[in-house]
Subunit: 363 residues, 4 copies
């Protein structure tokens, strides 16, 4: 399948940037979970452009739940959430419809869809389509929270600025989830915003790294070999536009360690088992070990920049130079944060439903 | 599903390190593809321990094709390949069956499988189970080669030693595929072997990074959003034991670039479209763009080391200190190489079958 | 997955009888297929109640295509179609929400969804949810027709009245597709309508058998063992409410034949291969053989009848006698016809995309 | 997927009639279930030819469990079971390899697999491949029995002879499972055997109908819409060679009933809910209602008969007359019984694992 992800809990996404609407169908979520529409709106707000460091496109992202929720609770049947497109300025895309914006999907979508793709604003490849994931993910996040499973993501790095590290996971996650611009260190937030503004002023863009922690997961979650926690999460994370890397625990840095340092020693305390370090990111053999699940996601700089770039007209096969007009972000790292949280929550609901059955989340 | 991966071409793996046998069922491969048993044997050789830098366990890895091949060619029906276990020394695992070897799956498997997992030699979590992937992958690799699609992986880094970079993809890939110890620079191979031996002499282990290039893929392959090339490959790669990170193109380094540098400018030459750089690793929007598909896989140091380590008995919940006896590798990076190639080939056959139909590979 | 069906072409359905809306997401359909909204409307008309032999609930079934169609053609990305509920009279369901209407899903839905299901008008189990299948199926039917693949279904039997048999498949199918009440013999249609009206006048209901023919399918379609044509179609057909039996070719009658009679002799004519009889319904070994694919679907009498029936209150566990008020059909066989055609078309698009690739339908 | 069936519990089959071996991988079965090899052997015996009413091919069907079982219990990892082919007389198939045996898959397999299929003895399409399903199914049947879920199938009809009906489900099922020739009425068994022998003596064959009852299933099992109990079971049942019809409860006969007769009235007794009749076969809305799940499967007469038949050489496209030599059964209804039980058990384990989680079966 292409636009459906998941086994027992699944999400199906649809929509284009400048079409009528976009949205998602979330299926398999246990019946009886409270659906808090204001929390969905809050999560959509986190994804929306922020002041001067984001695109001037103004979408209010008003969503409508079409199905699967009754008297404020999930029914166990598919939840379809729709967000209408309103602030569309499609005409400006007409003139560049045969131009391959560098690092965008214009050319590959043209090839894959034989020229029939909706090219306006990136069509189905627009980051805007993640709004459906965020709306659906909000329900998954709420469900997990009720079971004591918390997800938090911070901007670990943006351009050259590095954020602080997690110190107290529970407190840090709760703080992060209350922030629009999610850093652990507030001063770093200001530095990062400054660097984004500077990039914008140069008609350029910056990327970064998001780091996510999940706490409260039971031991023994994950369906190896292939539906390991890492396999399932990475599959989902790499579906988010602009993600070019995913690593768990120490990630690529583990390649530089000796085994004696990389290995996470186990110890028992009050009948519970822990590890002293967490280079494996809470996962051994694709299965949770009770430590926080930690992963990082590399986000590339927004490909849409106003600087002139060399590229091609893929119909005429002519080389051209193009400045991308349109409304775009100098950085999407801070907006991608909630998308990472959302898809993570959906994947975890899926793995938990697989292990514990369809109804566990609401038990 | 847990031990089945893939949509139109799928692999199902089975087996334990010290059980009767292990193997794989490869399904969906087009009929009429030549099956070269000597190539399968060659690929299994690449996975097998190498001289002094590997485990002394000696498995000849004799495989038997039980089905799906007739008169030397694939029939289009499932290919089951079985490798019997012979050099089993299971008794030594009896005494440590309740001990959580650090960074191994003993504890998590105990939890997930409620104490019923075969603990001998890691059971179903043993790296040995990858032999089934390699045998099946050999058929996929051969099929792709006939269509001009080549896959090559080198040890980009092991401990502190970095290999050279790809210069001429075609030539480099062909060279790599003829090497047992896959570096682009032969001198680096000797340095790496020396560092592995040194780690072994200290009863320790080392990790590394594998870099893979795929050339010859048509433009337009990949099924976004969720069955993107990155999503599908990462799902498969993270299923390989010891993998802790996967990145495409510039990967995590892209987070440090400005958009103007990260963007891959397109240009046309003789009616073909190329990019000047390849920071996106040959993939835009989850779809191949005709440039080499490039990714890196972080391999952790072998967790089995003979140095004493702190850990627990997960039944008694007692803290203990344990040296892992058994036959293990001081490094598995060089052996993991062929596993990466194999699972990559299977995933690509799947994506190609999805796009072009069940029979394309043999057309 | 629960509400998603299909591998390469899939449908995801959502919605409840008395919720905001219902609909479907059709994914994987080749790009470039013309979408004729008037044909979708026509198909929805076929599903809608007909005069005095149907429910008085009046839904105009106005649909909106939210995504996946651009400039009148499919883009290759997911097509979400939404139909709003308008003529809802939900209050009448409040009083019977704990009553198990016999042969309805009230009790089982109550158990499965732990009491959280939307009970109004059958909720997600309402036959009304098939409107999403019909809207999506209309696109699949159009796509197949362009490739010369035609689907036609007639009311082979309703109560005791039997329709004529197919004589000229092509002509018959075209005639059927122009009829609101699909019989091959117009006189039989009148007899059947009379029997339905009579049942209605007795506050009772009748069932029937639908027979479907598909012509124009290439030889060699079907993915045995498990994704055989029969396996895939039956899976889909049994998902339609009220279906209690599916048979291919001679079906259950084949059990009474000797092999020498049941076997379909092959013969060649002008280089084409045919069978003399078609007791296998155009399928051998789960694969199409070029003859018409023939199957029959048993539809039970509408369970909603106004006659008093013995049943229970599943909360109080008290035995009661209940007459079902509400707006219901004395027969749904004629309305189910277009649902059968629609889901058949979607399954066939899936199997064809599997065999020939993502783009074949629009080639 | 083609040769893999199931979501949370899955079976992957492989093998050809005259290849090295055939078998199955059963994945997702809960850890800790006792595996009784003598019961597997017993079930394989039920599938094996019986005296004079079956093929003279003598396969001992010795199976080997390669993986997934440790110390006599399931480990939770994939169970691969292999059965070697021994009594192969392949040479006799060489001469007829281009002949389309009527109602067999020779021609369609030739088309689908582009001429590369193993044609010997039907290759992958041989009924012999069901031995893998039976071996795997034996484990599923045992697991269900521990939970009080019993499956029994009788020959409801063979040629013109009809068996008695179920009277006491529990007792009847236990009796059936101890019989090699499964009728409820022993006299009918003799009549049926006589009719099979008569058909054999005329070089002809007969078919029949199998009826299956499942008792002990919890209320609320089934994942509508698409993974309904009927959808999942029919998908699996139609994968068995020779099955041409599947019906639940009253099945096709329900089409002749009025709603007032077809509806199954509910009643409560001692706090339990039952239905007075069971025309819906224990399923409402695709979900179990606690009554026995009842279905019937139509089995066509063995297509292999020795009478001369008209057919074609599909390479030369010449019309010919052919008598099928080879070793074949005049009836396979009695042998198909255990295949139906086995695949039913696997599907039910899958649906139960979906609802209750991975470990429920061994709890």
């Amino acid at each position: 399948m292409k636009n459906t992800l998941g086994n027992n809990v699944s999400i199906t996404i649809f929509g284009e940037s400048h079409g009528n609407a976009l949205g998602a169908v979330l299926d398999g979520i246990a019946p009886g979970i409270e659906v808090d529409e204001s929390f969905i709106a809050h999560q959509l707000d986190l994804r929306r452009p922020v002041g001067k460091i984001s695109t001037p496109r103004k979408e209010t992202d008003e969503f409508e739940i079409l199905s699967g929720v009754f008297e404020g609770k999930t029914t166990g049947t598919p939840i379809c959430i729709v967000i209408k497109n309103k602030d569309k300025k499609s005409e400006m895309y007409e003139s560049i419809k045969d131009i391959a914006r560098p690092s965008h999907a214009d050319y590959t979508a043209f090839c894959k869809y034989n020229g029939f793709a909706d090219y306006r604003g990136g069509g189905h490849f627009s980051g805007r389509v993640t709004a459906g994931i965020v709306a659906a993910g909000a329900i998954a996040i709420s469900a997990l929270r009720k079971k004591g499973i918390l997800i938090g993501t911070h901007i670990a790095k943006c351009a050259s600025i590095e954020d602080a590290e997690f110190s107290d996971y529970k407190k840090d996650i709760e703080n992060l989830n209350n922030k629009i611009f999610a850093t652990l260190d507030d001063e770093k937030a200001e530095e990062i915003k400054a660097i984004i503004k500077k990039a914008a002023s140069c008609y350029d863009s910056v990327g970064g790294v998001l780091e996510t922690a999940v706490i409260g997961l039971p031991v023994g979650v994950g369906e190896p070999w292939f539906d390991s926690v890492e396999g399932m999460l990475s599959h989902a994370l790499f579906s988010i536009p602009a993600v070019k890397g995913v690593e768990f625990g120490a990630g690529f840095a583990i390649a530089d360690m000796m085994g004696s340092k990389a290995n996470d020693s186990f110890y028992a305390e009050n009948g519970q088992i822990y590890t002293e370090t967490n280079n494996n990111g809470g996962i051994n053999g694709g299965i949770t070990n009770g430590m926080p699940v930690i992963f990082r996601t590399a986000i590339k700089p927004t490909p849409s920049i106003s600087l002139p770039q060399k590229t091609v007209n893929f119909k005429s096969k002519l080389n051209i130079i193009e400045s991308i007009i349109g409304r775009h972000d100098p950085c999407i790292v801070h907006r991608a944060r909630v998308v990472v949280d959302s898809i993570t929550a959906i994947v975890l609901c899926d793995l938990l439903a697989t292990k514990f059955g369809t109804d566990w989340l609401s038990k």
